[in-house]
Symmetry: C2
Subunit: 282 residues, 2 copies
């Protein structure tokens, strides 16, 4: 059994811990999360621990990245369970601020990224990236780690955070880490916990359909027809609806007509009230 | 004659200089400017030098805080003159980035402060505070000084910067410094250089009319009528037009109906094509 993970809940305590590490010449890695941890998060912690001497994981379910009709209230929360998992993965400190620490009275600032945040998720969740960019800039500036680690599972989010960090000159390296998948290829996600047994089986079809679309595009199918066919397959597999399945420029997420530059396939689809996303290199 | 002031023009060079000072245990103060320096700026440098061991002054005429019809092109520029004045005031380093350093290809991030940025200047210059908050967050994060010094001459800007710095957890103390005035009370401003001799005489009336409005409000006049009378006096003094003259809450800049909390009088008025602003504690 591991020793319990130390936890801090305010910015001065967080900065004190990190300042002590820095004074000792240690490199610090940050893993921002909304809790409800799974193996995907733990792989971020392990990667961070390989690349830094000390790892801080943040746990904050950020209300500003949920629209009023979204699942903020029912989003899974289990700090004790998360804390035990983090300790076993080599995390050194949990930072779990409450809402008043993150958004004090009179809070009035938003970090808005245009361009890369506009299509795909930006179209279907217009509040999302403003909320993400604002909270991530805060978490980075509260802790000022050497590097921060984000999963490629949220690929567009990763691109938005990279752009925001470069544009604002936040002195932190942003590292993307490969998506961790279940044995049937389903991308791990805190929201998978919402799925019933039938939905869970259907969910596993998404990554296979994306692989097929990649194959079709690489074999010379027009991008638009590979996308359209994949969309039909997702619905046929039993998904309730498809928000998008798109092959895009891997950096800007702009539409493309051929594979001459690095490309990425990204998808979002609904199973009942649960929205799943996934992406892969083409 | 002073030794020439060292200058850096990119972020790595700036960070190298500051890292060396930090390693030596020195406190660093930052004075962001758009150049065209006058005694007001130099007083910021002197205050910074009293409160810190080393002072960096930034010189960047920020295109993003000018609307297309505003005076970006004709804004006065004299880096050699500015540099000599800074050296004599005790500045240790000039940071003068060009546009490509501040806004590289693909720049897509804006820092937007609502609330305190909405009235007054926000109403008449809707692009202004977005441009200011974005560039100041960049300058603070490029240099990460212990403290940054801003003039109260741009009082609303100072409040916006304080809010933004607190909201984003930028680890820099923001210090406001008193407005420096000419012998006739005119607030020093780089834009005073636009005034001809006749306009210069009229300009000096603004601060006197503001003092009268403060007296009237303190003597019990209704806020709205003190404002209306002051506005009439500004026009009668020969100003071309009045954008606003308003007595507001000193922190939020919200309208008030009495002087039970700290208040500030703020004004903006035009002399020909030159826009002057001023403010005072009530």
């Amino acid at each position: 059994m591991n020793a319990p993970l130390p936890v801090v809940r305010d910015v001065p305590s967080l900065r004190n811990e990190i300042a002590a590490w820095r004074k000792a010449g240690l490199r610090v890695g940050l893993v921002p999360t909304m809790g409800a941890l799974h193996e995907g998060h733990l792989s971020l912690v392990r990667t961070a621990k390989e690349k830094a001497d000390r790892v801080v994981t943040t746990l904050f379910v950020n209300p500003r990245q949920f629209a009023p009709h979204e699942d903020f209230e029912r989003y899974p929360r289990d700090e004790a369970g998360d804390s035990a998992m983090l300790a076993s993965a080599g995390c050194d400190l949990l930072y779990a601020p409450d809402r008043a620490v993150m958004y004090p009275e009179g809070f009035a600032t938003n970090v808005i990224v245009t361009d890369v945040s506009t299509p795909l998720e930006g179209e279907f969740r217009p509040h999302f990236f403003g909320g993400v960019a604002t909270v991530v800039s805060k978490l980075l500036l509260q802790s000022l780690p050497d590097a921060a680690f984000f999963g490629e599972k949220d690929y567009q989010q990763l691109q938005v955070i990279k752009r925001m960090t470069r544009d604002l000159d936040i002195p932190v390296a942003i590292e993307g880490c490969a998506t961790v998948r279940e044995s049937d290829g389903l991308a791990m996600s805190s929201r998978n916990a919402y799925l019933n047994a039938d939905e869970r089986k259907i969910a596993a079809r998404l990554n296979l359909i994306m692989h097929d679309a990649i194959k079709a595009a690489r074999a010379g199918a027009a991008i638009a027809s590979a996308e359209a066919q994949a969309s039909r397959h997702i619905t046929a597999a039993g998904f309730t609806s498809v928000d998008y399945i798109a092959i895009r420029d891997a950096e800007t997420l702009a539409p493309i007509t051929d594979l001459s530059r690095p490309a990425r396939i990204l998808a979002a689809a609904w199973l009942g009230k649960t929205r799943l996303i996934d992406n892969m290199a083409v």
